[in-house]
Amino acid sequence: MSPILSFERVTYHYPGNDTPALDDVSFEIEPGELCLLAGLSGHGKSTLLRAACGLVPHFHGGRFAGTVRLAGMDTREHGPARLGAVAGALFQDPETQLVTSSVRSELALSLESRGHGAGAVARGVEEVALALGIDALLDRSVHELSGGEQQRVALGAALAGRPPVVLLDEPTSQLDPVAGDELIGLLRRLNQEWETTVLLAEHRLERCLSAADRVIAMRSGRVAHDGDAASFLTWAARESPALQTPGAKLFALAGLRPLPVGVRQARASLRAHGLLPGDGHAEPAVDPAPVQGDSPEGEPRSNAGWRLRRHKPATALRLRGVWHELRDGPAILRGVELTLRPGETVALMGRNGAGKSTLLRHAAGLLAPTRGRIERAGRVALLLQNPGDYFVHERVCEETSVPALRSVGLVHMAERNPRDLSGGERQRLALAIVTGDGDAPAVLALDEPTRGMDREAKAELALELRRRAQDGQAVIVATHDPEFAASCARRAVLLADGRVIADGPATELLAGGWYFATETARILGGAGGALLPEQGVALLQADIALEALV
């Protein structure tokens, strides 16, 4: 069988850049494979996808060596318009991939531009809308869609012509856990039922590793590993721990083998070892405290913490029956009651469109409640979703003061253009801008701060948030990422349809569910409230010790 996509010694430099974005890349993908692209940010995943569909070099220019063939077509000889009929592509930001006004016309565009008649276009639109479950959105304006809905519509537009290859660059980055799982399930179905070849770049590997036939890991523009999911995990444990899934990390720390590619395999393996909590074994209590901060009930967890906050006001932020009702439209918030105490770290979770962003805007005073009251102990610093929106100058030092830059470790980049910074650095600069160098804000609110971030950058951000909480700031983070929520928050609040439907310790809320739960918690069935591999391993080691004793 001839490969549907092949890279042969491909090296590529972006214009004006001496470091290759792709460096001697060679591999072949067979029709019907679901292949996962792994790697840290800036290591070539997106460039590889753009080379596969011909945007590199036709659209971006630069120096290109080697050969890429898509369905037998050399991408040097055929432009993206021709290759687009074979490969549907979905890139990171769905907003820039929606070019018309309504969902129906968006899905129809590629079919119309390839000269299909009205009947074929209507059928194609209807079919892809039904397949993706977006038929209810067909007559909506694309401007009215949430991020998750935009993502699904952009995917629908890429799939409208039923291309045999689909290229996806972090398609779940804006999706809530439910929609993310649905999307991965859909890709698997496309792959199994239509034999669609899928090449998927993703940071949250735990979401899709079990569905992948094969994993290609990129490092510094080169293929560092190419093999099945199990061999990738073994390689990652040895060569690139930041790429490990939480489940694999849990097993590696506990000294268990083989490393699991998904929750199901992990649980089966633990059951085989007689280590699955709740499977006839005692559950040792685990203190999953990753953070120095208040307990969810506001009780101090340690004497040091109590001393730290003894003289601070009891409440940093209080929302009392806050409503946000649109004129001629629905209510986005419906009587939200929420209290944050100094030093508390709270993860605000919920599906796309639940009202998380609106709640944070109210907290920061950008919006006024239509009913209800908000009390603030001081300034509320809000970091919005896109850090690039804060940058209006040509140099980093013009955006904020030197002490503020020093506080986030960016003072050495003062002369750089903010737009040239990496994703993590941009996030830190935006944080410095909103927090400033004067009095520390009473509350730090962050709206989806980890979009497009790799695990290393997320860990750094979680550390920074914990540090600020220790300094007495209340931190509230709206996030779709349960792993990040578990790493930085002690309390979790679940929002649905503008209402708080659950509010409690993260160890309870992120341990017990299917969707809003970490992989470690799902593997261990929520035992002991363990959310992260480091916490889960204590549980397993206690069991292993017990086993040895017996």
């Binding site: 119309e112 805007r361 209006v392």
Partner: protein, 301 residues
């Protein structure tokens, strides 16, 4: 999803203009544009502005149109100021600013102020009409209507009308981000220029991404659809009303320009006779523009 103020993009609303077919809506907006470009009488331009604002409220997009009017005022003021500084044609000097370097003697004349105001009024009117068309004429239907002629041109035109709400959304997002800085958003001309620069550079980045998407969707290889790919659609009462309104606006424009009902001269002395003909022209223009909005039957989406 965050939903704050009334959206600034096309959305099918219950209004006669939204109910009319996109081609007719576009022609009606084009007739308004011709009137705004051809007529110079300040009174007539004022009547046109009021009528366009009235049309906005008739189309249920009055609030975004009023917001646009505020933004247009920011553009209008410098136009008047620049004309006052560079114009040397007026005779009625009412202020002497002395030597202004490259601008020469700074004699401020009544004629320069009046002419600058007329140009500013025209620019404001054009901005309002473009906004009205962007918010009330379905760009996708327009694309379908014109794709038999040239798919690429129609798509480019459709995209360019979509850029207005996108730019508005971008600038709104950036302005909101600036409000979250400690001490609030920076004020002053320098801060506004910096914000404008960021919006422009952001829109260029966005244009690159949109261009890449269009490439992959086959824009470069775009083909004409087969003949009669859509069944013909009967003209509704709103189609007929707005088509008649467009014809009336064009006829009144010609009458005003060449019939002498809107004769206006700024230089060397302001000549702006307010005759019964001028007032009648203002009144009939307002009626011609607003009459189609009176029929509210069958306007629901």
């Amino acid at each position: 999803m965050f939903t704050g103020t009334q959206p600034f993009f096309y959305r099918r609303l219950s209004s006669p203009l939204h109910a009319a077919r996109a081609g007719v809506g576009a022609v009606w907006a084009l007739a308004l544009t011709v009137a705004a470009l051809v007529l110079f009488d300040p009174l007539v331009l004022l009547a046109l502005t009021l009528a366009v604002l009235g049309a906005g409220f008739g189309a249920r997009i009055g609030h975004p149109l009023a917001r646009t009017l505020r933004t247009a005022a920011i553009v209008a003021v410098p136009i008047v100021a620049i004309n006052v500084l560079v114009s040397r044609d007026g005779l009625t000097v009412f202020a002497r600013l002395g030597d202004l370097g490259p601008f020469g003697q700074g004699d401020v004349t009544v004629e320069a102020v009046v002419y600058g105001t007329v140009i500013a009024l025209k620019v404001t009117l054009l901005i309002l009409i473009t906004t009205l068309a962007s918010l009330a004429v379905d760009p996708d239907e327009l694309l379908r209507a014109f794709r038999r002629l040239s798919f690429r041109s129609a798509l480019t035109a459709s995209l360019s009308t979509r850029m207005i709400p996108l730019l508005a959304a971008d600038s709104g997002r950036l302005a909101e981000a600036q409000r979250t800085r400690p001490g609030g958003a920076p004020t002053g001309a320098r801060a506004r220029v910096a914000l404008l620069g960021a919006v422009v550079s952001g829109s260029l980045d966005r244009a690159m991404d949109v261009a890449a998407t269009l490439e992959l969707r086959g824009f470069a290889a775009s083909r004409r659809p087969p003949h009669r790919s859509h069944p013909s659609r009967l003209w509704s009462r709103h189609d007929i009303a707005f088509a008649c309104s467009a014809v009336a606006i064009l006829a009144l424009t010609v009458l005003g320009r060449f019939g002498g009902a809107a004769s206006f001269q700024a230089y060397p002395l302001v000549h702006m006779p307010v005759t019964a003909g001028t007032l009648a022209l203002c009144a009939t223009l307002i009626v011609a523009i607003l009459l189609p909005f009176c029929d509210r039957r069958g306007i629901d989406p």
